[in-house]
């Protein structure tokens, strides 16, 4: 061992040798393994003999298998021959077999009827017309299963027999032939057959079936269920019927719920574009209430039609997407479209704001004007930025005034810092008609004597007690007295008088005297 504690080379060598000794320790085989190994020659042939034996064994096996299969095949053939001879059935007549099918509707019998197809029709028609009600009923049911158009006269004829009427109605429904609607419709009036007739007409579909169902809407106990049944038809006739039902308050909700299904969307759009003007207006009204975004292209096209422009514009406003906003903006000059912006929401506003960034000055002016109709506080920053354009500033100020609210008021006060915009800003603050604008107007009127009169006039347009108090605060000179007098007289007395009475009853004698004077003027 070295002094530093590390093993020396001699140590390592000695340990390595010791390791080898340990690894080379004698090893004993597990018990029985040697015996098993010594038996290997007894259980295994050397390879030269082994492959010959293997080939021979394979050949023997193959021969055995072939012989066995040959024997089995012969045995199967003889067995099949015996079975064929023993079980060859006596073939019954088709009518007998069909009657058997009708009386014992097993799976095998039904399968037979399906394979027979049209060959069974003649027999089934005969049985359906026959005297035996039980057989006839079963035959009618099978005619419904087969659903061949050729069975229509037989089934309509079966309606004359009360005992066969219900299966005949159901079978006619299964036929799905539109001409079955007429014969089936009268049975909607029969309480016992109403359900069968309704289901049959729903399966038949078409104008006649839908008309028959709509005709009994007022008579049924659950009209909503019948509207849902009509809706389940899903064809154009049903769509038109549902659109027209929107005009009938009793069925309006059910019809609208049905039309909300996507399957009716194409029919609804077709109706909106169709020649039937009344139906078109109902369809557009439905689109306005459902507001499906995919209707935008169709509604955009309808903006060109003066008779449908207003409803289409309202529908676009209800859809409230940037695409709908773009469609309205493109047609905004047309009559009826501008009003629609008043109904627009954030989607259209977003579209307008996007156009504000892209368009030229003329376009911007137009957009600013439209934002006055539909804008919200979200538009304020964009409008504030736009006010730097002197040509657009008046429109921007007016729009901010129309938008109103604390953010718009703050923006207007900020813009009023520019001398050229002071008066328009005061005017816009008046347009807000909001109490939020009162402090700003007081500050503007106090800051500049020239603006005191316009500020008082603006405050007079805000119907609030705070505005009255602000007016009295700003009124301080002979010059403004006339303006104040006019403003207070023009304001609603119910707003002005309580403020003046409160001042009259206050502790300040000067204020009370002033209030008395104004009260005499306003409310002599």
């Amino acid at each position: 061992m070295r002094r530093d504690g590390h093993p020396s080379e001699a140590d390592l060598l000695r340990r390595s040798q010791r390791l080898d000794d340990l690894l080379a320790a004698p090893h004993e085989l597990p018990a029985g393994l040697e015996e098993r190994l010594l038996r290997v020659p007894d259980t295994t042939r050397p390879p030269a003999r082994a492959w010959i034996a293997a080939v021979a064994a394979s050949l023997l096996l193959l021969a055995g298998v072939l012989a066995l299969r040959s024997r089995e095949t012969e045995s199967e053939r003889s067995s099949a021959r015996e079975q064929t001879v023993a079980h060859t059935p006596v073939v019954p007549s088709r009518r007998a077999r069909i009657l058997d099918v009708l009386r014992r509707p097993t799976d095998a019998n039904r399968a037979f009827l399906r394979t027979e197809g049209d060959r069974a029709l003649v027999t089934l028609h005969r049985v359906a017309r026959g005297r035996d009600t039980e057989d006839a009923t079963a035959a009618i049911e099978h005619l419904g299963v087969l659903a061949r158009p050729a069975s229509l006269p037989v089934l309509v004829g079966a309606l004359r027999r009360a005992d066969r009427r219900e299966p005949a109605i159901r079978a006619l429904g299964a036929l799905g032939d539109g001409s079955a609607a007429g014969p089936v419709a009268p049975y909607l009036a029969d309480p016992d057959l109403f359900e069968a007739a309704r289901d049959a007409l729903v399966r038949v579909g078409g104008v006649d079936a839908v008309a028959a169902l709509v005709a009994v809407l007022d008579e049924v106990e659950e009209p909503a269920a019948l509207v849902a049944a009509i809706a389940s038809i899903g064809d154009e006739a049903a769509a038109h019927a549902l659109v027209r039902l929107l005009e009938r308050p009793a069925f309006e909700d059910a019809a609208l719920a049905a039309l909300a299904e996507a399957k009716y969307r194409p029919a609804l759009l077709d109706a909106a574009r169709g020649r039937d003007a009344a139906l078109a207006l109902d369809a557009i009204s439905a689109l306005e209430r459902l507001a499906p975004p995919e209707a935008v292209p169709a509604l955009r096209a309808l903006l060109a039609d003066a008779t449908r422009r207003g409803p289409a514009a309202r529908a676009l406003a209800a859809i409230d997407t940037p695409e709908a906003g773009a469609a309205l903006l493109d047609a905004h000059g047309a009559r009826g479209v501008r009003e629609a912006f008043g109904r627009a929401g954030p989607g259209i506003e977003a579209g307008l704001l996007a156009r504000l960034e892209d368009g030229d000055r003329r376009e911007r002016r137009r957009v600013v004007g439209l934002l006055a109709l539909c804008g919200s506080e979200r538009s304020v920053p964009a409008l504030l930025a736009l006010a730097s354009d002197r040509a657009l500033a008046p429109e921007v100020l007016e729009t901010l005034g129309r938008i109103g609210g604390a953010r718009a008021v703050a923006a207007l006060e900020e813009l009023a810092a520019h001398s050229a915009l002071k008066r328009p800003a005061i005017e816009a603050l008046a347009v807000t008609r909001s109490v939020d604008a009162v402090p700003a107007l007081v500050r503007l009127g106090t800051s500049d004597r020239q603006l005191r009169g316009p500020a008082i006039a603006a405050l007079g347009r805000i119907p609030h007690a705070a505005a009255v108090r602000a007016i009295l605060t700003l009124d301080g000179s002979r010059r403004t007295r006339r303006t104040t007098s006019h403003v207070l007289l023009a304001m609603d007395r119910s707003t002005v008088v309580p403020v003046l009475v409160a001042l009259l009853e206050g502790d300040d004698a000067a204020e009370a005297a002033e209030a008395r004077r104004w009260l005499d003027a306003v409310h002599p």
Partner: protein, 194 residues
């Protein structure tokens, strides 16, 4: 007729080196069996001792040894004269062991339970315990180091033989041996001084 008691490998090799079945048939079945029995008695324990460390289960080691001798018996006639019977058997054994390892590739290796440290109050370890622990340590060596160490130390093969068996260079064999030994010596340290 050769006396079975005096039958040697050289005699058996005379048969195996023949390329014709007729010549091979000249050697009696009894002579073959005697030669095979001597191979088993001489090498079975060494082969099993190595196989135990190359496969995962003791039963696999027994199977590998049994398969080695089975293949040896079947291939007795193809055995080449120039090869050592020991090398030949170890080649078959390594293949058999690798086959078994591959089959169990997806299974978790069953390590022997970690042996307890010596319980002798004096800290002395009996030779039997130490041997067991050394072999446990061999089990976790990298495969090549383990193979080289076992074939060199336990089976007593030369460097060239090991290189031939493992299909690597003699230098690599020596490197693996040094690394394996160093790893074990470092692990057991003074325990090997006793």
């Amino acid at each position: 007729m050769t006396n079975p008691a005096e039958f040697t490998y050289e005699m058996a090799l005379r048969v195996r080196s023949s390329s014709r079945l007729e010549d091979a048939a000249d050697v009696s079945d009894r002579e073959r069996r005697v030669a095979f029995a001597r191979l088993v008695r001489e090498y079975a324990a060494t082969l099993h001792g190595v196989a135990l460390r190359l496969v995962e289960r003791p039963t696999d080691a027994e199977d590998a040894v049994q398969e080695t001798f089975l293949r040896a018996w079947r291939a007795l006639d193809q055995f080449r004269r120039e090869a050592e019977p020991r090398t030949w058997l170890f080649r078959i054994l390594l293949n058999a062991c690798h086959d078994r390892r591959r089959r169990r590739l997806l299974r978790r290796r069953e390590r022997p339970a970690e042996r307890a440290e010596p319980t002798d109050p004096a800290g002395r370890t009996s030779r039997r315990e130490l041997v067991d622990r050394v072999f446990d340590a061999v089990d976790v060596l990298p495969r090549r180091q383990r193979e080289c160490l076992l074939l060199r130390v336990r089976a007593g093969l030369g460097y060239e033989e090991i290189a031939l068996l493992l299909d690597i260079g003699v230098g690599s064999v020596k490197t693996h041996l040094v690394q394996g030994r160093r790893s074990l010596v470092r692990r057991f340290g003074k325990e090997l001084d006793a």
